[in-house]
Every structure is written in structure tokens, then in C-alpha cells.
């Protein structure tokens, strides 16, 4: 199988060897520490390791390394090669350069799609299709004198006019642009931001803060009714760790830094924040604060609200911050909670002091197969009850389990494929699991070696009570990998008439099963009612556990051949699914935020009084609506 060129084959050998080691390790447990795998390996590797540690991931001109009309890095994408096999390009990810043989069959059978029916994207951004900028001349004049870099280049503006909602990407692929910001500014530090906000207030210019651009709530869309000049304030160049305090285990960081840089830089000093949202390659610290983000390993490190010690935010009224770094205060309602989740409606977060932890000594993936989803949920509930959740524990339903399987790279030897066959036989024939009902939980343990092993045993013992069988590290790892490549897969689907998206909620434990079942069924039914010709993929997973409930993620995609306005159909179905979530006792959002996509439900979510409270804060802090993205309220 001599295929594609250059470094690919050695890379593949390395990966194959590692896979072998992982599987062998699983079969002859317990093994030595060298099978520990770092989470970082599964995300893209930032450029060439070693060459220039100081180099940051995000340049001012993002389009140099990232797609303007899809997810992630320009060099990384899925495609079907001439043989009809799926391949992932580039060198950044473990999956890069690999062939994924089962994906095509899964794709075609799940969606009724065909490789013959393509819907390619517009290849090049046509600048002339972008509206010319509406500039506020006096603002621009004064801005020039400050020396802060800015641009009104069409590409720069288009790049900052969207997040990653389906309708946003779909429009870009068709080369359609709505209202886009009139200019982009790149402040370099807190003081730059203060100057920009002052000027904006003075000249009545609308500011929209922009961090990583990974929003999935229409938060970055420019309000079409906005008549003022809109300025996108890109924080990406404010990306330094200003200090690390080892005595208090805190780090003071500029808010524009993206997750992968923050972790990489802290790792160099032996620390980490442990905050790993699925979008961490691209999303920024400021964005996390502004949307109340949640990380995969929150069980150990906490969500963003637990991690933040101090926040500095620039508002039209001035700078808001606390006077000290006390770990807890009883000083009235916590002002941090006005800032966290404000979604760019009050100001720009410029600097954050965060808790840090020493890097874990040992990490271990794991997975458990359950005979059905009900048993899996019962097990997660028990793990939460005993408060012994590993760093991460996620439960995929049957459809996602199959999806995960379809993403297995080509196996490197007959031996491994034989082993896979053996495992499958053991689970389905010997243990009697129904392959159309079983589901899998993926686990990630972290800490010192001994405790991890002890912890692992505890969790596997609980799982066994619910009929769970340990299914190896490999399956676990692949589960987490899926997280990072799923957004790339959406782009592949969109090349072949398939559109989809994910959305999330949080819900009390006793309602988890019902909400999963009802929302999935609602999606299927709505698709049918709206004239979708093919059965949709409607699947979910439980991604976080809490004492009193869980976070549930839904994935939904369908083949839109035969529909005249697929995006509208998509939006109607998503709307119906959200209504179903709310009717079943789920929250409006666990961590994606509200943006403009979900704000119609804010009043019923927080009550009229609650909404009034938020509005009065907005009225005081930003009476002229300088931060005019119109999210949330």
C-alpha cells in the first residue's frame, strides 16, 4: 500500500506502533507507565515543535493558516480519494495522512448520500461581493494617531463576520455575505483596548469583540439593523502570559490567548490550567469568560467560573475589576458573574488571573461498553453519586459508537484486525450485546500513577455493576479524537449534500434518558414533516456529569437533496429540538451560550425580573450600546 509521498509513511509507522502498544497494553494489563498518552497528542501540533517556541498560533491575517469558509486549518481536511476512500490531509493531527476505509460506507448508508452527488464550496472569496465598509472618518483619524493596527480589507472583515453555525458556514460556502464589520482592529494590550473603547464611545461606533471566532450561537453576526460603523475588535494579538505565581498557583494572562497556546506555554513551566473545551485549539480565554465555557476535564479542574480568580474588563463606563485576589469574597453579588456570560454586550475582557495546577504525572484513557444506553446512563449517575468521576467521562449512544467505528484508520496489520474481530466477537456473541443497542463510555484519568490506577479500578468496578465491560484505551482515545475532527467532518458532509450541527443542554439526572429519547425522536419527526427525503442522523452523548445532573450533547445531520431551502429547514428543526429540550426540563444552554440564536427563550429561562436585572446592568454599563452585538438580551 505505497501511497502518498514524503513523511507520511514514517508518521504512519509511528502511529501504528503506538496503536499496537496500546492494544497490547490492554490485553496484558497492568502495564508500565510508558503507555500513558498525553491529551495534547490528539490535538493539532502547533507548527514545528522546537523551531520557535515563542511563535503564536493565530496571526493577524487568520486566512493565512485557516479556512475562510470552513473549520480549522487550511491544510487539514477530509476528502474522498480516487478510490472512494476517505483521507485526512495535513500533518497536524494523529489522523493526518491516514486513510479511513469505513467512512465512505458509513457516510453513504447513514445519510443515503452518494459520492456522485457533490456540492462543492465556492473556492475563492470574492472581495467584490463584500459591501464596501461604512467608515466613521473621525474615529479612523483618531485611531491612526494611537498606532493600533487596523484594517478594512474585505477578507479580514468577512473572516470576523461569522462564527461556526451551520447557516453561517453554508452562506460562506455559497459565497454570500451579509452585513460584515466595517473594519478590524488588533489591540496589543489592555491599554490599547481602553483607548479603542474610549474612541468608540466618543464617536458612537459599534464594537464587537472577537476572540477565537468559534461561536455557535450567532453571537458574532453583525446585527443587520445596525447603522453605525461596526468595528471588530480582534483580541488575538493579546496573547501573552504576563506572570505565573507559583506560590498561589495562579497565572495572569491576556485574554486573547487561544487554548492550545495557553496550555503549551504553561506546560513549558510544568503547569496547566486543565481547561480544555472541545474548541481549545482556536477558542480564546476571553471568549471562555464571556460565554461561561466548560472544559472536558472540569471534574478535576472545574469550569471557567471555578478557574477564574480575577478579571479585568474594559467597558464604556471604564474598567471593571476587583481590588484583590482573595479566593472567595462575600461582597454582594459577585461582579464576575455579570461579566461571565455577558457575551460581549458589556465590554472586552482584557486580562484574567486563572488558577493553574502542576501538570499531571500520569494520564490514562479508557472505555467501557454497555449493553444499552440506559445502563450507561445509570452507571454515569452512580459514578457522579459516588463523586468519583475521572477527569473526563462521556457516554456515546449507539449511533455515535458506530460513527466512532467508521472513523477507525486503516489497521496496520492482520494481527490487529484479527484482535479487533476477536473483541467484537467477545462482546456481541459471547456477552450477548446487541450491536444495534450497545453504547460506549470513554474515560480519561489523570493524576499520579498509583491513584490513577486505583481510581480506574473503582470506576470499572462500578461499571461492571451496570453490565459494563472494559473495552480498552484505544476506543477511549478514539472517542476524544472524534471531538477534534468532528468539525472537519461537517465540511466533508457539506461537500456531499449533508448538513448538520451539534447543540447541548444540561438536565437533572432523572430526566437524562427521557430528554435524549424525546429530542432525538423530535428531530427525526420534524425532518420528516419538513420534507427531508432521507432519515436524519440524530444522536447524542452525555459529556459531563454533575452532582445534580448532566450535560447532554446532540448531533444532528441530514442529506438535503431535494430541498429548496435546506438551511431554513435545518433551522426549523433545530428550533423545534430546542423547544423539546426546554419542554423536557433541559436548560437553554450548558456552555455554548445564548447569542442571538437562542435569545428568544431568555425571558422564559430567567423570568421577566431576571431579564430586567440584566437589562439594567447593560443600561448602566453601556447606555449607548457601543457593544452592540445584540446578544443575549
Amino acid at each position: 500500500m505505497a501511497s502518498n509521498s514524503s513523511g507520511g509513511s514514517s508518521d504512519r509507522q509511528r502511529i501504528a506502533q503506538q496503536r499496537l502498544r496500546v492494544i497490547a497494553g490492554h490485553l496484558q494489563r497492568p502495564v508500565d507507565g510508558d503507555s500513558a498518552v498525553l491529551a495534547a497528542e490528539y490535538k493539532a501540533q502547533g507548527e514545528q515543535p522546537g523551531s520557535s517556541r515563542e511563535e503564536k498560533t493565530v496571526p493577524r491575517r487568520r486566512q493565512e493558516i485557516m479556512k475562510w469558509n470552513g473549520w480549522g486549518y487550511s491544510d487539514s481536511r477530509f476528502f474522498f480519494n480516487k478510490k472512494g476512500q476517505a483521507e485526512f490531509t495535513g500533518k497536524r493531527y494523529k489522523l493526518s495522512g491516514l486513510i479511513i476505509p469505513a467512512l465512505k460506507d458509513w457516510f453513504e448508508s447513514t445519510f443515503g448520500a452518494s459520492l456522485q452527488h457533490k456540492t462543492p464550496a465556492t473556492p475563492i472569496l470574492n472581495s467584490s461581493a463584500v459591501h464596501p465598509p461604512t467608515l466613521n472618518e473621525t474615529f479612523v483619524e483618531e485611531l491612526k494617531s494611537t498606532g493600533i493596527p487596523f484594517s478594512h480589507d474585505a477578507e479580514d472583515r468577512v473572516f470576523r463576520a461569522h462564527g461556526h453555525c451551520l447557516h453561517e458556514i453554508f452562506a460562506l460556502r455559497e459565497g454570500k455575505f451579509g452585513r460584515v464589520p466595517d473594519m478590524v482592529i488588533w489591540p496589543n494590550c489592555h491599554n490599547d483596548v481602553v483607548k479603542v473603547v474610549e474612541l468608540a464611545s466618543k464617536h458612537n461606533v459599534c464594537l464587537i469583540p472577537y476572540g477565537g471566532g468559534t461561536s455557535v450561537s450567532s453571537a458574532l453576526e453583525c446585527p443587520p439593523e445596525e447603522t453605525r460603523s461596526i468595528v471588530s475588535l480582534d483580541t488575538s494579538q493579546m496573547n501573552h502570559i504576563l506572570w505565573i505565581d507559583e506560590k498561589n498557583l495562579t497565572a495572569h494572562v491576556e485574554a486573547g490567548i487561544v487554548g492550545q497556546d495557553l496550555e503549551r506555554l504553561l506546560n513549558e513551566s510544568g503547569y496547566c490550567t486543565g481547561h480544555e473545551p472541545d474548541s481549545m485549539e482556536f477558542s480564546s480565554l476571553g471568549g471562555w469568560v464571556a460565554t461561561r465555557a466548560s472544559g472536558m476535564k472540569k471534574n478535576i479542574y472545574g469550569n471557567i467560573e471555578d478557574l477564574v480568580v480575577h478579571i479585568k474588563m474594559v467597558t464604556p463606563r471604564g474598567v471593571i475589576e476587583k481590588s484583590c485576589q482573595g479566593p472567595r469574597m462575600s461582597t454582594g453579588p459577585d461582579i464576575h458573574h455579570f461579566i461571565m456570560g455577558s457575551e460581549g454586550t458589556l465590554g472586552v475582557v482584557t486580562e484574567v488571573t486563572m488558577k493553574i495546577r502542576p501538570m499531571p504525572e500520569y494520564q490514562k484513557y479508557g472505555s467501557v461498553v454497555f449493553p444499552n444506553f440506559e445502563q450507561g446512563v445509570a452507571c454515569l449517575r452512580e459514578v457522579a453519586r459516588q463523586r468519583c468521576a475521572p477527569a473526563s467521562i462521556r457516554l456515546m449512544d449507539n449511533e455515535q459508537f458506530k460513527f466512532g467505528h467508521a472513523l477507525k484508520p486503516q489497521v496496520s496489520s492482520i494481527f490487529t484486525s484479527f484482535l479487533d474481530g476477536l473483541k467484537k466477537f467477545y462482546i456481541t456473541k459471547f456477552k450477548g450485546f446487541d450491536p444495534n443497542r450497545l453504547c460506549v463510555a470513554t474515560l480519561l484519568f489523570e493524576g499520579d500513577r498509583e491513584r490513577v490506577l486505583q481510581h480506574e479500578k473503582q470506576v470499572y468496578d462500578i461499571a461492571a455493576k451496570f453490565g459494563g465491560l472494559a473495552a480498552g484505551e484505544d476506543n477511549g482515545q478514539r472517542g476524544y479524537m472524534l471531538t477534534f475532527v468532528i468539525a472537519y467532518l461537517r465540511d466533508l458532509g457539506m461537500d456531499y449534500y449533508v448538513i448538520g450541527e451539534s447543540f447541548e443542554t444540561s438536565v437533572p439526572w432523572d430526566r437524562v434518558l427521557d430528554i435524549c429519547q424525546n429530542v432525538k425522536e423530535r428531530i427525526v419527526r420534524e425532518c420528516k414533516d419538513k420534507g427531508v427525503q432521507f432519515p436524519p442522523l440524530s444522536t447524542c452523548r452525555v459529556t459531563q456529569t454533575y452532582d445534580a445532573g448532566a450535560c447532554v450533547y446532540f448531533y444532528f445531520a441530514f442529506n438535503y437533496r431535494g430541498l429548496s431551502d435546506p438551511v431554513h429547514v435545518y433551522e426549523q428543526v433545530e428550533h423545534a429540538a430546542r423547544e423539546e429540550i426546554l419542554a423536557n426540563g433541559g436548560s437553554l444552554s450548558h456552555h455554548h451560550g445564548v447569542g442571538k440564536l437562542r435569545k428568544e427563550w431568555m425571558r422564559e429561562t430567567v423570568s421577566s425580573v431576571g431579564l430586567g436585572m440584566l437589562k439594567s446592568v447593560k443600561d448602566f454599563v453601556d447606555p449607548n450600546n457601543i457593544f452592540g452585538n445584540r446578544n443575549l438580551l
Binding site: 432523572d510 427521557d514 426546554l582
Partner: protein, 549 residues
């Protein structure tokens, strides 16, 4: 206004096949019904365990124990006993026994049992998709045996049926019914929290698990007058609860209209109403009643209506998130919003039953004869009516009721029944009341136009507003007498106007409501239709008034 009824399905006679093939083979046939989403059927015992272990029951048990100071175990035992008394023990062998004997009985009693097979197909579809609630009309003890018999015949999942405790008095028969899927509820258990908890949890458990379709009678009891009774809401509340709380995705409510040409209990009912006590349900009584076997009760029409999706029904009317602030196992009094919704749905469903009730010519005849009978009571009138005149009138009435959307079954010929009087007066009264029962079967067709006709008659002027007031008053007065959807006065008024204008009986201008020349006859007929009720109310009112003086 929704008068244009959908096209109704055709009927198949299921007795025909029974007359031509072996009943024994039929009773022993291979029975493999489709089930809800392919669940594996669970035993009746497993079901009671699930109920006893439910958090709902646990909660109520500990509550009752705290309130009364009784030991938890003690209350728990009581709950088990209640469940024991209540629970059905569906057994296929019993069903087969009934399949055999009922085949024999039905063939003797009835000329035909006609079923709309398309309705059966819809039901089969519904059973696979969502939990199903069967809601038959209730005119006779026969109803639920007949329902199970039909479902067995069509290889559909056998229902569990909510039955009154009265049957339990019948030794052996009670147990037989239990083994054919009946579960027994006390007629009244007002404030008994524990009883309510066991009962509701039991019904919900069967429903949620798709164990079997749940069947009950919205009217609560047999209508003695063939006129639909105002619906009881308790059970409907219970079955809807799992949907409100998100425990099931949807639920199909299937109205079933069972029309008898002649009800087995017809003279029994009439006597009951004249004060002859209702014979207590007993096995020996049943045995004595076998004399009915020698009579001909004509045909039965069973119409399985369009399954109503509870989800669509509740769309925009019920905010289900109101249930997200209290744990779902804690019983809570339904909010006003829910109560109104359940109430409206119940009326809607009874109307759906009424709509598909098949009317025989005799029903129309009875309506006319009774009017004639009442009029001929007046001095100087000679009783009776010439046959030609009657025929002419019936044909006229047939056409009128067709236009009003009635579901008529009009065969080529029909025989009239003859009776021999024993006690002169009593038997005459029995005939009149039995006739009334027949007439009542057609009441729903004429109800709204009749109310309007009466209103026009009673109103001070022909002003539309006045007529409406009078309509509204009458409607209000009769709200417990007939199925009149609460709060739908305006719709009913418009519907009645529409129908009367359609049949040329009325002319409606901006301000006025005028009876046309040729509409006179219709108006007189319609007014007379309500006459007995009006008189009844009048007598009752005068009585109460004179008493209170």
C-alpha cells in the same frame, strides 16, 4: 367551521367469516400481535413489582405513614393489597376461551358485527409508534368484551381495561374478566391518597412501558339513554401525565364509536329510569339473562376513529416545562391550564366518538314518532300517523341529517319490532323511553341547530344579538346534558347558523336572524327535538322551586 366530515371508511362484517369457519380453530389461532417499538412483553407480576418499587408510590407511602402515624411497612402492605385487588392478569388462554364462546354468542345475538378495517390498520400503526389509549363509547356491558374480541380477531395487542368494581361482585366472572385484561377501580375513593397513587402509577406504568393499550370509558359509566354522558376526567388526566412530564414522546388517543342497532340492556335501562332498581351484577343474574340469547339484536357497528396525537393536541396549549421544577414522582394538583386542556380534550374526544356513531333508520323513525306521540297526548288529537306520512317525513329527515353530517346506515329494507304489553302503563313508558334512547343516538347531529332553533323561538326579537343571548343561555343550561365543548359558544353558534343557512332554514343578515318560508318545518322539528329536555328541566325546576317555598 368544520362540518365537512372526512370521508368515512367502509365496514367489513367479521361475523361472516365466523359463520363459515371453525370457531375452535379461530380460538386457537396463532396470535402474534405487533407491539410498541418491539418491546419484549413483560409478565403481569413484573408490572406490579415495578409499580410497588416506583418512586412515586414510595413517596406517597412515606407521606401517608407520616400523616397517619402508621408504620411504613403497614402502609406498604395496604398498597400491595390495593394493587392485588386492582390488577389485571391477562392470560391468552382466557382470551381464547372468550374468543370461542363469544363467537357462539355473537352469532346468535347479532346479524353482523361491522368494523372499519382501515381504522384497524391505523390502530396497528399507532400501536407500534406510541403508547395507545383506546376510548370507546359506552352503551352496554358488551362494549369491552367486544373490543377485546375485535382486537384478538385482528391480531392486535389486547388492551388492559379499566372496569368498575361492580363486576368484582360476580364470582368467577369477575376473575374471568380480570384474566381477559380488566383491572378494577373502586367507584369512589375521594380523598384516599394511597389508592389514587397506586391506581395512577399502575395505569401509567402499563402505558409508559407499552405493555398494552390502555382502554377506558371517557363517559365513566354506561349511558342509559344512548346520549353521550359528559366525560369524566380522572383517568384521562392520569394517562396524559407521562406525556406532560416527558416520559413518553407522544401518545395516541383513539376514539372508538360502538353503535348498537338494539342494546342488550335497552328495556333494563328504561325500567331503571322508571325506578325499578338496577339488578346487582351477579353471576346468577347473568345466567338468568341468557334469555336475551333468544332475541335478535340486529347489527353492531364499530368504528375505530382517527388516532389523535396527544402531542399535536397539546401543541401551543400546554407548556410542559412547568413540570421541570418539581421532581416528577411527587404528585401535584394539575394547574388550571392543564385542567382546562384535559377537559377540552375530553369533550373533543367524546364528540369524535359521536361523529362516527352509525345511525339506523329506526333512530330517525323514533325521533319522529316520539314527537308525534307527545303532540298526540294533547286533547282532541288522534294518536298515530299514517304510514305514508311517516315515510315521507323520515325521508325528509334522512336528507336533513345527511346534510348535517350524520353517519347514516340506510339499508334497503328494515323490519319493525313488536312488543307485547304486560302492565299497560309501564310497558308503554318503557317503549317511550327506549324510543327516546334511539332518538338520542341522533341528538348530536341536531343538537347545535336545535339549540339555535329553540333560541330563535325563545328570543324576544329576531335581532342577532338577542338570538345569540338566548342561544348562549340555553347552551349554558344544557351544558351538563349534552356534549358541548366548554367555552365554545361562539363556534357552536356559528356552526348552527352555518348549518341552518345551508339547509335553507334561515336567512342571516348583518343584524337579524330570519326563519325562511320553507325553513319552518326544519325549525319546528328541531325545536321539538329539544322539547322533552326542556319540559324535563321545567318540571324539575318547578318542583325545586315549589319545594323551596
Amino acid at each position: 367551521i368544520v362540518i365537512s366530515r372526512d370521508k368515512r371508511d367502509d365496514f367489513e362484517d367479521i361475523l361472516e367469516e365466523r359463520r363459515n369457519s371453525s370457531d375452535l380453530r379461530y380460538a386457537l389461532k396463532c396470535y402474534t400481535p405487533v407491539v410498541y417499538k418491539g418491546i419484549s412483553p413483560c409478565k403481569a407480576d413484573a408490572l406490579t413489582n415495578m409499580v410497588l418499587q416506583s418512586s412515586h408510590l414510595h413517596y406517597v407511602i412515606s407521606q401517608v405513614s407520616k400523616e397517619t402515624g402508621r408504620a411504613v411497612d403497614d402502609v406498604q402492605d395496604e398498597a400491595s393489597a390495593i394493587l392485588e385487588e386492582m390488577a389485571q392478569r391477562l392470560q391468552l388462554s382466557t382470551i381464547r376461551f372468550f374468543a370461542f364462546t363469544l363467537s357462539k354468542v355473537f352469532k346468535t345475538l347479532f346479524r353482523s358485527i361491522c368494523v372499519n378495517e382501515e381504522g384497524i390498520q391505523r390502530l396497528q400503526q399507532a400501536i407500534q409508534e406510541h403508547p395507545v389509549v383506546l376510548l370507546p363509547s359506552h352503551r352496554s356491558y358488551m362494549d369491552f368484551l367486544l373490543m377485546s374480541y375485535l382486537l384478538y380477531t385482528y391480531d392486535l395487542a389486547l388492551p388492559v381495561i379499566a372496569a368498575g368494581m361492580d363486576f368484582m361482585g360476580m364470582k368467577f366472572v369477575g376473575e374471568m374478566l380480570r384474566m381477559s385484561g380488566a383491572f378494577f377501580i373502586r367507584r369512589s375513593f375521594g380523598g384516599d391518597k394511597l389508592y389514587w397513587a397506586v391506581f395512577s402509577e399502575y395505569v401509567k406504568t402499563m402505558l409508559k412501558n407499552g405493555y398494552a393499550p390502555v382502554e377506558f370509558f371517557l363517559e365513566g359509566t354506561r349511558s342509559r339513554t344512548s346520549k353521550s354522558l359528559t366525560p369524566k376526567l380522572g383517568l384521562l388526566n392520569i394517562v396524559m401525565d407521562p406525556f406532560f412530564k416527558g416520559e413518553v414522546f407522544d401518545m395516541s388517543l383513539v376514539p372508538v364509536s360502538i353503535s348498537y342497532e338494539r342494546i342488550l340492556e335497552e328495556s333494563l335501562y328504561a325500567r331503571e329510569m322508571l325506578g325499578v332498581p338496577k339488578p346487582k351484577e351477579s353471576t346468577s343474574g347473568l345466567f338468568k339473562a341468557r334469555k336475551v340469547l333468544s332475541q335478535n339484536y340486529g347489527s353492531i357497528h364499530v368504528y375505530f376513529g382517527q388516532p389523535v396525537s396527544l402531542r399535536s393536541l397539546a401543541e401551543g396549549r400546554v407548556n410542559r416545562s412547568q413540570f421541570s421544577l418539581v421532581p416528577r414522582h411527587i404528585p401535584k394538583r394539575p394547574s388550571e391550564e392543564i385542567q382546562n386542556f384535559v377537559n377540552d380534550s375530553a369533550y373533543m374526544l367524546v364528540r369524535a366518538q359521536e361523529e362516527n356513531m352509525v345511525l339506523k333508520p329506526w333512530v330517525l323513525l323514533a325521533s319522529l314518532l316520539l314527537q308525534n306521540h307527545h303532540q298526540s297526548q294533547a286533547p282532541g288529537q288522534k294518536p298515530g300517523m299514517a304510514l305514508d306520512e311517516l315515510t315521507e317525513r323520515v325521508v325528509w329527515l334522512r336528507d336533513l341529517s345527511r346534510q348535517y353530517g350524520a353517519f347514516l346506515h340506510w339499508p334497503g329494507t328494515s323490519r319493525s319490532a313488536d312488543t307485547t304489553p304486560e302492565e299497560e302503563l309501564l310497558s308503554r313508558a318503557v317503549i317511550v323511553l327506549s324510543c327516546a334512547s334511539y332518538r338520542n343516538q341522533a341528538l348530536h347531529v341536531f343538537l347545535r341547530p336545535a339549540l339555535l332553533a329553540l333560541a330563535i323561538h325563545a328570543a324576544a326579537s329576531t335581532k342577532k344579538q338577542e338570538v345569540f343571548y338566548s342561544f348562549s343561555f340555553l347552551r349554558n343550561m344544557f351544558s351538563n346534558e349534552f356534549i358541548l365543548v366548554p367555552g365554545a359558544t361562539v363556534q357552536d353558534f356559528e356552526e348552527a347558523c352555518y348549518l341552518l343557512v345551508k339547509t335553507g332554514a334561515l336567512q342571516i343578515t348583518q343584524q337579524e336572524v330570519l326563519v325562511t318560508e320553507r325553513g319552518h318545518r326544519t325549525i319546528v322539528f328541531l325545536t321539538s327535538m329539544l322539547d322533552p329536555f326542556l319540559q324535563g328541566y321545567q318540571v324539575r325546576a318547578t318542583h325545586s322551586w315549589s319545594k323551596s317555598l
